[in-house]
Symmetry: C2
Subunit: 319 residues, 2 copies
């Protein structure tokens, strides 16, 4: 199954970039339409050559779609999915939100589990909106794909192939709750820590510290101080998993605090060195890729599965 | 006073870059010698055109110096300063370590206060050693300069002018303890938080989270997982100020944890928005620069002072 008639609902930074990439592949490869409630966004999309419409009147444009990408704000995804599903009766529905369990549950409740696939590009920017979108922005990005419901394996297979071919994606397949726990650590907790730091700096506003903030501070707070509402929705939607991660980080912070106060400097030294020793393993995992003979079987079972395009087609790596 | 005969003691990333910049200014502007206990470092420095010697036999090279830059490891600075001071009886002594109070105290105890100036470039890299040094690396960097002892104002004036002219530096003058509190927040605490995150990821080694770590995680942990001993010395030397900052961050983390658990999403939203609202003030302070008629007076009194090269010489900004 190859998707040839795609709708992207919500043409912000991510949706817009996805749509522009499809558009660039050419109308003979894929026909793409963009639906967005914002008139300026539609105008920008139109100026970039994309066909676009408002979601209400645009429902007619959905009737023949074989794939609908839901790329609007997190808080609107569940309602939009149900609305779109009715207008696009034969389309696979993919969302690109940063939390996966709530929408999977909503899909099941709405009887859409067989054609719903949850996906999440591990990518972000401080910018937002279609004006910041570009056809090249999301090439080569790692995508998380939530392990599909048993009757959605065919749809998920198609989505994985589409991501790998159209976006040169590396795909990580994992359970929705495992995804949400993982991103709580690698994405949402860094947002919280960035806010802590920036908030502390602001609490002494105009003090000298602000004039001394250099690379390490800028990097550590890059994701803080912008798009408060987008961040709130992301953190709030993953509150349970994120809460557990923050509890763990609180314990670790207390341990560092104690190590710092320890009269024996070796206590802190050992802790820092253990992190250094383990860093290569998690920073650049060494994977043994092998051909992937049965994508469906891979999606159905086992722990986290990594998929990428290899010389002879799809390849997989052990978890 | 202009420095024309400079020694750099410790030719790692920072010391090496400082020396290479001076070397590039030309022998008619400044004569520079590098002292380093490591033979390979001396060979590399020699290959780059620098005169170099071991610290022991090299003491003769110090006799005529008007400036000695102490750029070795933090833990060695106090002993090296005393050793160098005896061999360079008329030199101003500048250290570039990341914590300022301990060495200022050591200088006072050794009777060197009148010619000691504490400085600290707000700059770092994950790399280290002379091999990573370059003459351009530290141009335009913000330097903190600790407010000098009253009888060291003349020396500090010369150091500030030297930093501004030779390195295009922007200089922030502040009390040593104020410096240490500031860098605890903008540099050392980010190192601790980066270690927490990386440690948490490593605790589930080879789990799927590592495969999903993208930009925000890489940025947040860039300074973790390398140079454990260098980090330990930096954190440990500033343990008191850093401890207070970590206590404050612990309280803030608990507040975020509570906001996340609050059934009213507006609680978390308000907190995040307050950070966004305050971000521009601390990220890009708006400064009104004016000519600096009396650098000595500026160094002697008042709160944090910013100095830069302007069209007509040095300029200052209100704290």
């Amino acid at each position: 199954m190859t998707f040839t008639r795609v709708a992207v609902v919500g043409a912000g930074l991510i949706g817009g970039s996805l749509a522009l990439r499809l558009h660039r592949l050419g109308a003979d490869v894929v026909d793409v339409v963009v639906l967005d409630p914002d008139e300026q966004t539609r105008d920008l999309a139109g100026a970039a050559g994309l066909r676009s419409a408002d979601l209400g009147p645009g429902r007619a444009d959905l009737a023949d779609r074989d794939l609908v990408v839901l790329a609007g704000p997190l808080t609107t995804l569940a309602a939009t999915m149900v609305q779109v599903a009715a207008a696009a009766p034969s389309a696979v529905l993919v969302d690109v939100g940063s939390v996966k369990e709530p929408l999977a549950r909503a899909a099941a409740q709405a009887g859409l589990a067989a054609r719903y696939v949850g996906a999440h590009p591990m990518w972000g920017r401080e910018t937002s909106g279609f004006a910041a979108a570009s056809s090249d922005l999301m090439l080569g990005v790692t995508w998380a794909v939530a392990r599909p419901a048993p009757d959605a394996v065919t749809a998920a297979e198609a989505v994985v192939r589409w991501l790998v071919t159209a976006y040169d994606a590396r795909v990580v397949v994992l359970d929705a709750d495992e995804h949400d726990r993982s991103v709580a650590l690698v994405s949402h907790a860094p947002h919280v820590l960035a806010h802590l730091l920036l908030e502390a700096l602001e609490s002494g506003t105009a003090g000298p510290a602000a004039h001394l903030a250099a690379g390490s501070f800028r990097d550590a707070t890059r994701v803080a101080g912008t798009h408060a509402e987008r961040t709130r929705a992301m953190l709030g939607d993953n509150a349970e998993a994120l809460g557990a991660v923050l509890d763990d980080l609180t314990d670790r912070l207390a341990a560092y605090r104690a190590a710092l106060a320890d009269p024996d400097p070796a206590v802190l030294g050992r802790r820092l060195r253990a992190v250094s020793d383990g860093a290569p393993t998690v920073r650049a995992p060494q994977l043994a890729w092998s051909p992937c003979p049965d994508l469906g079987a891979l999606l159905r079972g086992g722990p986290a599965t990594l998929i990428r395009a290899g010389a002879d087609g799809l390849e997989q790596a052990p978890a």
